[in-house]
């Protein structure tokens, strides 16, 4: 039995399936691929599968990974080929490799946010720059206090590690680095919703580009 890390992209409308849906989808895809999975030996045998960091519903990603346990003789290249042919549209397997870093060391994530259908993009770019270069950006964040769900106020700019904006083909693209992982996690949608308050209509699509450690090393 050995552990492999499967890297994949989740793009297009399949971003509207939740993490739980993705796990079910992956379990079935792996079964279809016919790769020799290792099963737990309990009363109810199930395959071992763990995802580095769940992706919010609605977000695309170019840096998803899941660890699975394999039994028997099969190379990473063979796993890659078998999995590729078994995936639904929107999930692309990019690599299969030995895990290098424990997911608990993930500290940051880099995102690209594209704003579509905006009537005046350069005005929105200016507004975004003003917003993000200010002193504070206070928002209500839904958090948990024990089992209760409560709103608490956070200052997004305190967490914003870096950002930049760019315009191309009438689309505003915002690049963001925010804390991510099991200790501190900030959803970029909180920030994007604030930006959308400066626009009249339109919508945005978030793409997670990279996961990073606390030293800004790429998660691998």
């Amino acid at each position: 039995m050995r552990c492999v890390r499967v890297w994949f992209n989740k793009t297009g409308t399949i971003r509207y399936i939740s993490h739980l849906d993705l796990m079910r989808t992956m379990t079935r895809a792996i079964r279809r691929s016919g790769i020799p999975l290792w099963y737990t030996e309990g009363f109810n045998p199930h395959p071992y599968m763990t995802f580095a960091l769940p992706l919010s519903l609605g977000m695309q990603s170019l840096c998803e990974s899941m660890d699975i346990r394999i039994e028997g003789e099969i190379t990473n290249g063979e796993i890659l080929t078998a999995l590729r042919s078994a995936m639904p549209e929107g999930i692309t397997i990019t690599a299969v490799a030995e895990p290098q870093i424990d997911p608990k060391y993930i500290a940051y994530a880099a995102f690209d946010v594209d704003f579509f259908g905006i009537s005046d993009v350069s005005a929105l770019q200016t507004a975004t720059e003003t917003l993000l270069s200010g002193e504070h950006l206070l928002v209500q964040k839904l958090g948990k206090k024990g089992h209760k769900k409560v709103f608490k106020e956070i200052d997004l700019l305190e967490y914003l590690r870096s950002y930049s904006t760019a315009l191309s083909d009438g689309v505003l693209r915002l690049h963001l680095v925010l804390p991510a992982g099991s200790t501190t996690n900030v959803n970029p949608a909180l920030l994007c919703d604030e930006i959308m308050k400066c626009a009249d209509g339109g919508y945005y699509v978030i793409t997670r580009k990279k996961l990073l450690t606390k030293d800004m090393e790429p998660f691998a």
Binding site: G12, T13, Y16, I17, R24, R28, I30, R32, N44, P88
Partner: protein, 618 residues
């Protein structure tokens, strides 16, 4: 694939995965290369619709044809509908994302009466008039099929063509005719007249219904030479009819998320309350080899790890043990679970129990349906208390500690003693657990009883019976609760208001169309969902349309009354049903079809063949 306008609203709704399409094995064709575009609509949520086996079969068959592209459409949930209306997004099909208004054919499956308002709502969301007479063009033509079409009369004002029976072999001729009419630029009227001459297709607008002063049907008169009765079509051989070689695999969790395989059609039992038991006759079994190889292929292409063997009474399938042996051969090493719903207590063998223990353990459910022997005889549910207890004993000996029992209240001839009998039977099952010397230490037993309210349905021996009023049903529910004396028995029951409405539509006629439209225009939809059901609005609708719902639900019909569905022929002779009704009132049973053919008449649909008869002769 959905367009940008839809993408914009998806972040605003719950479970957007319902609306995106693109699932594995969904079929995408070039729209310019097909002659007919077909929107297969399931008038309920994605989760319910995607659990339905019929849609998988018909989707596959329609798409077998290169000149037809069949796509799926489900009823958007309240939040999605609101966003669609706000943003002027018409109802679209999941595979292409194209508005179904522009399709050639829109088909609805009518699985139960409480989805009727959803049909209207979906037509409206598509941007089409809800009434057939207000849609003048040939396309889209609106067709309906499914079990409710055994009495489609309440919906006939809205649907252009109703297809009676099993769709598998009815599609081809229909597609060919529509394709031809479209090419020639024929009118809707010409198409309807032609299709009405084809076996199994009912064009309600070509039948005139007149009523007596007392509200009963006086006559149903065919116009312009269409057939006086329309006969349900059946397929003759399950082994050779097309079965899908792939299922669309949903992303989001649906109710039945597994490989489903139909092993037998029809039922030998003849329980008098059960519409499905009569509607799907004659009995046809599929061979174990066919089922086994089709299941294996489906598991391979879907990645599912569970197979459910589906039929009305799985343990009556004659090759069940042979089939299980074949399946277990490969499902055990591949860690695939087999589910066997609809087992009976009277032929549940030790061998079957042993095989069940090899598959992953799930709950055990049995359906005695009534609490006393007298009433079980009246409804012809031929199981004895001893058989229920023997099965419970076997289950407990096999390590099960939870058993679920299904019952109904409101059966014809039922008394409060029969209702108390439900609690007594459940108590006897509890006692059986404690009598087991090897019962697991420190573990209690749970007996869950689920009590539905009986709704008399067309084409059953009880089609003439009054449904219990809501007051009577509530009294019986309360009596049942008072008769249960232990916490080891959990009781759950259905809302009587929903059953009442179901009862009205099940045996309704064309005058209910106004009620349905009124209720829908005043906000009724998803009526089968407790949270969405608006009983007060429905009652206002009956009032506003001057229709008495009790006339349909709670009235006893005489045997010589013309029933609204008498011009539809489902193979079962009315005389047979009347005879069965009279036996029920004498609490007399009828043996099942393999012991002795009861002469229901359904074998005429299949050239005189019935698998139950064939076996009883050898």
């Amino acid at each position: 694939m959905v367009n940008k306008e839809v993408e914009k609203i998806l972040p605003l709704v719950q479970k957007p995965g319902r609306y995106i399409g693109g699932e594995l094995n969904s079929i995408v064709k070039d729209k310019n290369a097909v002659a007919l575009r077909y929107a297969f609509c399931f008038p309920d949520s994605y989760e319910i619709g995607m659990s339905h086996l019929g849609i998988k079969i018909l989707y596959a068959i329609a798409n077998e044809r290169d000149d037809v592209w069949c796509e799926r459409v489900f009823a958007p949930w309240h939040d999605m509908e609101e966003e669609m209306r706000k943003n002027n997004i018409p109802l679209y099909a999941l595979e292409s994302g194209d508005p179904i208004k522009d399709f050639d054919l829109i088909g609805f499956t009518l699985q139960y009466e409480l989805c009727y308002t959803n049909v209207l709502n979906m037509l409206d969301l598509a941007g089409l008039p809800v009434r057939s007479k207000d849609r003048h063009d040939l396309t889209p033509i609106i067709v309906a099929g499914g079990p409710c079409t055994c009495n489609p009369e309440p919906m006939t004002e809205f649907i252009d063509v109703i297809s009676l029976g099993e769709g598998e072999e009815m599609y081809d001729a229909f597609f060919d005719l529509l394709k031809d009419c479209k090419k020639r630029g024929a009118t809707k009227d010409e198409f309807l007249r032609k299709v009405a001459q084809m076996p199994g297709f009912y064009v309600p607008s070509l039948y005139d219904v007149r009523y007596n002063a007392d509200g009963t049907v006086a006559a149903v008169t065919p116009q312009d030479g269409v057939p006086a009765t329309i006969q349900k079509q059946v397929i003759s051989d399950l082994d050779h009819v097309h079965y899908p070689d792939k299922f669309v695999v949903p992303f989001i969790e649906v109710v039945h998320d597994r490989v489903v395989h139909e092993i037998m059609r029809g039922c030998i039992r003849g329980c008098r309350f059960c519409q499905a038991g009569f509607l799907y006759r004659p009995i046809r079994e599929k061979s174990a080899d066919t089922i086994n190889s089709q299941c294996r292929r489906l598991c391979d292409v879907t990645g599912y790890d569970e197979i459910s063997l589906s039929s009305l009474s799985t343990s009556d399938y004659t090759h069940l043990e042979e089939l299980l042996d074949k399946l277990l051969d490969w499902t055990i090493p591949e860690k695939i679970n087999i589910a066997l719903p609809s087992l009976r207590v009277d032929n549940f063998s030790d061998e079957l129990m042993e095989k069940l223990k090899k598959v992953r353990r799930s709950g055990l459910t049995f359906a005695p349906e009534a609490g006393t022997q007298r009433l079980r005889d009246a409804i012809n549910k031929n199981v004895t208390e001893e058989e229920v207890l023997r099965t419970a004993r076997m289950a407990f000996a096999g390590g099960w500690t939870a058993v679920k029992l299904y019952f109904m209240i409101g059966h014809p001839t039922e008394t409060l003693d029969d209702v108390a009998g439900i609690a007594e039977l459940a108590q006897a099952v509890v006692n059986e657990f404690y009598r087991n010397p090897d019962k697991p230490k420190g573990k209690g037993v749970t007996v869950s009883i689920s009590v539905a309210s009986f709704v008399p349905k067309p084409f059953t021996p009880f089609q003439w019976e009054p449904q219990d009023t809501r007051e009577m049903l509530i009294e019986k529910q309360e009596h049942l609760l008072a008769s249960v004396h232990t916490k080891k028995i959990n009781v759950s029951y259905h809302k009587v208001d929903i059953s009442f409405l179901e009862g009205v539509f099940a045996r309704g006629d064309r005058r209910l169309a106004d009620v349905i439209e009124w209720a829908w225009r005043h906000g009724c939809k998803f009526d089968g969902w407790d949270d969405s059901f608006r009983f007060d609005t429905w009652m206002e609708a009956f009032d506003a349309c001057n229709v008495d719902p009790a006339f349909y639900a709670n009235r006893r019909r005489s045997f010589d009354e013309i029933l609204p569905w008498d011009h539809l022929d489902f193979g079962i002779r009315k005389q047979f049903l009347q005879h069965e009704n009279e036996k029920a009132h004498r609490s007399e049973t009828t043996p099942h079809c393999r012991l002795q053919c009861a002469g229901c008449g359904a074998n005429k649909l299949n050239g005189g063949h019935c698998d139950a008869m064939r076996q009883s002769m050898v």
